[in-house]
């Protein structure tokens, strides 16, 4: 496709300007993380990258955050998705209230949720557990709008009523209908929802910081106070990791996951 030179000029001006805005800070992170620290170093050094694994707290925080993400995904799979299907199939009267409930977190910023939920987590940490894994509860609510969007799109695309009817005629019980018949057909929607769960849990700072839980981001911020180079190296590494992960997911699935940002 041949484009007039004016269009091409505009295009490249925009790409280089916006591209510089987005990429220069990323390069600066790399530059900063390879700066010498300590008096022994001369010139460039990868020391900051090398001592990432030996940071106290960091590895355990990553493991804990991934565990939390796993629990959030389990909540999506065994609680939110079945409920969405159930409401779709059997309780048409509840569809509208259910949708409103799922979209409610959009109207409530994370900082506001913290204010409301602080007493609950105070109770949990006294009576049940002090582990940050308990944050899975509030995280699964935070991603409700995104899960709901990808789910309802998937559920609308398939005629699940006919599927359910056929399965019941052949003798399947209710749990078989939901977990064995309908959930496999909306796999893509579920995968998308789960992917957002990982991104959210690994990137969450507001709630965990204010409630004093040591999650991945909180630990990075902590490292940043004592050792800037290492903190910057960890941040850059995690950005690159997620980028590679995204590029590895086939284009079609990834795009529908990403574009589900467009809400309501």
């Amino acid at each position: 496709m041949k484009q007039p030179w004016k269009v091409r000029l505009w295009r490249w001006t925009i790409i280089s300007f916006v591209g510089a805005y987005l990429l220069v800070p990323l390069y600066a992170m790399f530059d900063f993380s390879t700066k010498p620290f300590g008096f022994a170093d001369k010139g460039r050094t990868f020391r900051a990258w090398q001592i990432i694994p030996s940071q106290p707290d960091l590895m355990s925080a990553i493991v804990r955050s991934l565990l939390t993400a796993g629990i959030v995904m389990a909540l999506i799979l065994f609680l939110i998705v079945p409920t969405a299907i159930w409401v779709h199939l059997k309780l048409p009267a509840l569809r509208r209230p259910f949708e409103l409930l799922c979209l409610l977190p959009l109207a409530i910023p994370a900082i506001v949720i913290v204010v409301g939920i602080a007493p609950l987590y105070r109770w949990i940490s006294i009576h049940l557990t002090e582990s940050p894994i308990s944050l899975a509860g509030v995280y699964s609510m935070l991603i409700l709008p995104y899960t709901y969007r990808s789910l309802s799109a998937a559920l609308d695309a398939v005629d699940i009523h006919t599927l359910a009817e056929a399965a019941r005629t052949l003798g399947a019980n209710t749990s078989r209908v939901i977990f064995g018949i309908i959930m496999p057909t909306i796999k893509t929607g579920i995968v998308n929802g789960s992917f957002i769960a990982i991104a959210l849990v690994l990137g969450e700072y507001t709630i965990s910081n204010i409630l004093n839980y040591k999650t991945f981001q909180v630990v990075i911020a902590q490292i940043g106070r004592t050792n800037g180079n290492v903190a910057v190296a960890v941040s850059l590494a995690s950005i690159l990791f997620v980028l590679v992960l995204l590029l590895a997911i086939p284009t079609k699935k990834r795009r529908s996951a990403v574009l589900d940002v467009d809400l309501v």
Binding site: Q3, K6, V7, I15, F17, Y21, L22, V24, P25, Y27, A28, M29, D31, F32, S33, T83, W86, L89, K90, L91, P92, L101, L104, I108, P109, A110, I111, V112, V115, G116, I117, A118, L120, G137, S140, M141, A157, H161, E165, A199, L200, G203, Y205, T206, Q217, A221, G224, A231, V232, S235, S238, I239, L247, T251, R255, V258, L259, V261, L263, V264
Partner: protein, 305 residues
């Protein structure tokens, strides 16, 4: 219409009594979800909404509500929040829309396109701790650009990193995650623009600027405004970036809420935190309502799945 199909599979002996009870027991299925969402979503919402009308001792009063409304500090923080959100939403929307246009005009599905979209979805989630580090490494003391500025342009504002910690600095940081979000939200809209419209305009002798002025911009305005509202909410509720960059507790409303909630010097004031949260929610609800109204206009021409 669809629920009728299900009813067809009901019991053949269909006594109204059993059908009545089946209808009721179906409601038990949503109970586990209702329990979890009640605990982690409805309870905090109710807590904030009702707490805004109580004093610190749990008595009904609108006193805190009025106090905060008339407080100069709270007003200043709220204005700062609104101003920064509006500015970064606009800047992010314009730059992001231009970048999305540049992407659509290239080879869609090509390598550059794919990397750009993937990078956008990473960077849109990038707010918070990491974003602060990136900009400190760029413009902060001893940062990449700051060092260059010190060497070659010591008189410009770039040479002194303190600008980063003010309103302008925060806006520059916020715009960084607004642009990629705009790219993601606006890309499908631009891709759904019918090429036939451009062809029709060209065939009738319209110039490029005439196409954009009379067709392109008018048809894109509702989606653009909707996306800008989304960006507005996005930066209005942002906390992590500002919290890790500056320690000024009264600078933005989210920071003020955090201080009121957690203050370690005995100044903790949960009632104030709830009232501030309540005001924030009002703004967000207004913005999201406008957004959904705009989306309704848009879906008339956009082929939405």
């Amino acid at each position: 219409m669809t629920q009728l199909q299900y009813k067809g599979t009901g019991s053949a002996n269909g006594r109204t009594g059993s059908r009545y009870w089946r209808g009721k027991t179906a409601y038990l299925g949503v109970l586990p979800f209702l329990l979890v969402s009640g605990l982690f979503l409805l309870y905090p919402t109710w807590n904030v909404a009702s707490g805004a009308f109580q004093d610190n001792y749990g008595k009904f009063s609108t006193q805190v509500l009025k106090e905060v409304f008339n407080s100069d500090i709270a007003r200043k923080a709220f204005t700062n929040s609104l101003e920064i959100s509006a500015k970064t939403a606009l800047a992010g929307a314009i730059l992001g829309a231009l970048f999305a246009w540049a992407l659509v005009n290239g080879k869609t599905g090509g390598y550059f396109y794919r990397v750009s979209v993937a990078l956008s979805s990473v960077l849109a989630q990038f707010g918070g701790v990491m974003l602060t580090f990136a900009f400190l490494a760029t413009f902060g003391f001893n940062g990449l650009i700051a060092n260059i500025a010190v060497k070659y342009a010591p008189d410009t504002f770039l040479a002194d990193a303190s600008w980063l910690y003010g309103k302008f600095g925060i806006s520059v940081l916020y715009t960084f995650f607004q642009i990629p979000l705009m790219v993601l939200v606006f890309l499908p809209t631009l891709e759904n623009l019918k090429p036939q419209w451009r062809e029709a305009s060209d065939a009738l002798g319209g110039k490029a600027y005439e196409y954009w002025l009379r067709i392109g911009i008018p048809i894109l305005t509702p989606s653009f405004a909707g996306a800008a509202l989304l960006l507005f909410v996005n930066s209005f509720s942002a906390y992590a970036t500002a919290a890790t960059l500056i320690n000024l507790s009264d600078f933005l409303t989210p920071l003020q809420i955090a201080t009121a909630l957690t203050s370690e010097t005995g100044g903790a004031n949960p009632a104030e935190a709830k009232v501030l949260s309540f005001y924030m929610v009002i703004v967000v609800v207004i913005a999201m309502t406008l957004y959904s109204l705009l989306r309704r206009r848009v879906s008339k021409w956009e082929d939405r799945r």
